[in-house]
Amino acid sequence: MTALSNGHAANNSSPLFKIPPIKFTNLFINGHFVHSLSGNEFETIDPRTGEVIAKISEGRKEDIDVAVKAAREAFDNGPWPRMSGAERAKIMMKWADLIEENVEELAALDAIDAGKLYHLVKVLDIPAVANCLRYYAGAADKIHGEVLKGARELHAYTLMEPIGVVGHIIPWNFPSTMFAAKVSPSLAAGCTVVLKPAEQTPLSALFFAHLAKQAGIPDGVLNVVPGFGPTAGAAISSHMDIDKVSFTGSTEVGRAIMHAAASSNLKPVSLELGGKSPLLIFDDADVDKAADLALLGILFNKGEICVASSRVFVQEGIYDEFEKKLVKKAKAWVVGDPFDPQSQQGPQVDKNQFEKILSYIEIGKEEGATLLTGGKKVGNKGYYIEPTIFSNVKENMRIAQDEIFGPVLALMKFRTIEEGIKSANNSRYGLAAGIVTKNIDTANTVSRAIRAGIIWINCYFAFGNDIPYGGYKQSGFGRDFGMEGLHKYLQVKSVVTPIYNSPWL
């Protein structure tokens, strides 16, 4: 493979793939695509070139109000929460089939909108949306309350009721996956939804909404309102008629959302926020495989993933060999047009992110870390950045503490298990962690000791529909995926009545 093939990194009208025409650019409210009330639009940009893909209706507070009204009506009086779980499942299954039928077009939308690798999105992200829908469709008729032990002669049971109108605010790094992770369980639970996609990546969410209507999701059950955080996002989180808000994004915005929820109607909030996830590689690891894992951990999706292994701790016995291999592999990593099947890394999502990452690279140098490889942008067009590795990183440096959200890895050395655990936990975040070791005791000790929501032993990014994931500490609270991901869209109601002459209690 050619290293950093920046020659074709920023190819304008890509000959590698014919971009489909953009069909949906309006707000999807109450089953219809409509203009925003203000008539305002914003541009969604191709990160390969910085050029405009399409103009999108910009939802603001008044549009959120209309969407919430539709969702409220669909919840309070519509068929969706009154259907059996099996009936909801049927419609969700149909939706999943339609998504599979449109996999290429959807993959192209995420690739062009987010700079994601087209060929990967096609086999990973979009099929995962269908799978996630099917998983939760299968769960829709398995939402069990419990019959309880009364303290006296009481018959008591719990009803797991849909929580109501759910507001979702999702990020731009996995537009489709995040859409599925939020929408599938809330619909399975019988809730109705107002979803705001990120302003960088509104296209696939609108296409999903179009398919939802085709599948038979009743009007008002799913509303998609593209727009910006301070306007549309704030309107969702402070809305008096939204019963629950779920957010994935940065820790700063998460804090604002929780604040807005608290000062409006006290709606429960779930937050999946930033991370600075450690990957601990022990002396007994296969160094070559560990280097591959570490590299993938930071470069997958150009480092724009909240669980990226942005802090790699290597035990001293293998450190030197590891560093050498890691750098060699990083140099062979191919950055290029995301529609090129040879590319391993596309452009960062937008100018802001691009500049932020480059500034962190400068900070790393200033703080005294050693730049082993990378550190520069690639090409003259678009937002491509070289895979970047720093060594001699100190735990208190900003590149070891802050989420960079780019292809920048901080490499550190540790001696004992205890030291490794301590360093790994030295973070305000607690989203994920990786462990590479063949020793079962090490694996078990470290798994329990690291304060993070998901621990990957001898693997990384091992996600699954049935595997809950979410954060400790300032990485947020609540879990997406698995049955945990369903329960946050349910209210628990206890029903109690006296019983007389019961033969057992």
């Binding site: 068929p79 059996s84 049927k90 299954m93 998983y135 078990n444 329990r448």
Partner: protein, 564 residues
Amino acid sequence: MGEKGGKRESSLIALSLSSTTTTTTIPMIPMPYKGVDLFVLDVWNENGNLSGGKGYLGAGFSRYSTATALEEEPIKPAVQVEHTQLLIGGKFVDALSGKTFPTLDPRTGEVIAHVAEGHSEDVDRAVAAARKAFDQGPWPKMTAYERQRILLRAADLLEKHNDELAALETWDNGKPYEQSAQIEIPMLVRLFRYYAGWADKIHGMTVPADGQYHVQTLHEPIGVAGQIIPWNFPLLMFAWKVGPALACGNTIVLKTAEQTPLSALYAAKLFHEAGLPEGVLNVVSGFGPTAGAALASHMDVDKLAFTGSTDTGKVVLELAARSNLKPVTLELGGKSPFIVCEDADVDQAVELAHFALFFNQGQCCCAGSRTYVHERVYDEFVEKAKARALKRIVGDPFKSGIEQGPQIDSEQFEKILKYIRSGVQSGATLETGGDRLGSKGFYVQPTVFSNVEDGMLIAKEEIFGPVQSILKFKDLDEVIERANNTRYGLAAGVFTKNIDTANTLTRALRVGTVWVNCFDTFDAAIPFGGYKMSGQGREKGEYSLKNYLQVKAVVTPLKNPAWL
């Protein structure tokens, strides 16, 4: 059960009690099973009255005196019998002995087809195929997601072939075609979709031990499951057994009832079309003492599930004990009470009690075969129950509007008539019915006895036919004691609007299912099984998964754990 939007689509086989306020969308229905996608038998009309009790069925349908119609030529089923061989290792094969047995049309007693007769050597072959498919894969080694997809595809194919499956079922079993096509096959599809959804949600636990240990439980497939199913609901019993076993990753040898071998062969073929690997689902037609016994006593079968009579259930359990101690799930007979309390709306109670007993020609293990009626409403109830039975439409099950077809075979037919004679001899009052209907096939008149006493044979033994026994009671404690005074404990019906009465009866009745103001509500998610000699274990719902899983505890010490 009212629902906005007109289209009613539910997955329950049920006679539901609906209040006047929630049934406004239900039009009068000119047949017992309204609407192609209707599972719920809602018999209340918009005034809250019982449609069935108002004689709306009109001209051409009066009493069960369709005897003359029964002398006509039977309607030809719209399906060909394509599969009559054993299904072993993904292929249809003859029995090693070359033997066949006839399967009969219960409308006439005539032969539908000759079916390969599996014996112990065929069971051996089928178990070997299932063993190989389990030990070598790919089935248990696939991801649960892939297993789910295959089960979903199978469900789609079953749905696509709804009418053929329903026709085979009715032809072989004699149940009304509308019941097969509009209730049972959709429920079959529902069951497989339901269990498909479980495949990737079978969770073990991590366990807090007292000490520095990391403990987890793995829920592993149990292995080769032997399943023996009855003839009264051939395809639904197929689904209750096969659905959870496949979702958990097991392989199966299934023996169908010798009376009804046809539909399971057809359905199993569709599973293979859907991508089920060969050897995962083997279907052996044959008889209990030969094929059934071979399966129950097989040393290489890891689990046995049986639905059928209590007597056979005992034999099955003994064979399992004497061979390899395989765990056994049993769903056996019943003599289920249906209790009509003093506050009951008599018309509604009559209709529900009628359905509880007569549904499926009375051939339900959970049939409400002891109708206990409070003395305050007893006389009115008896009179109306008799009138309702007289209106029951019996005839060729392929005919539209038929409520009751023939009994399964001559043996059952004779047994039912014998019980009716016993009822008369023991001094119960025969209100209506009591004899066969027509001169060919196995049709029995809807029969109602009143003044039945607990000690009479018809109140103690499972008749498995269209014979309703009405008993009188005075108070709650008395009826609880009498209802529980049976060796069975499968189900019960409770008919009351009083929440305290409902709760008291619900807890006091020693049965596996209590239907309060409904009966035979059989969704995929609702567990079913018996107390006492009605069996062991539960089928359907999450509970059924336990029948097909081994629990493995995995324990390892922890060094310096951060918490315990």
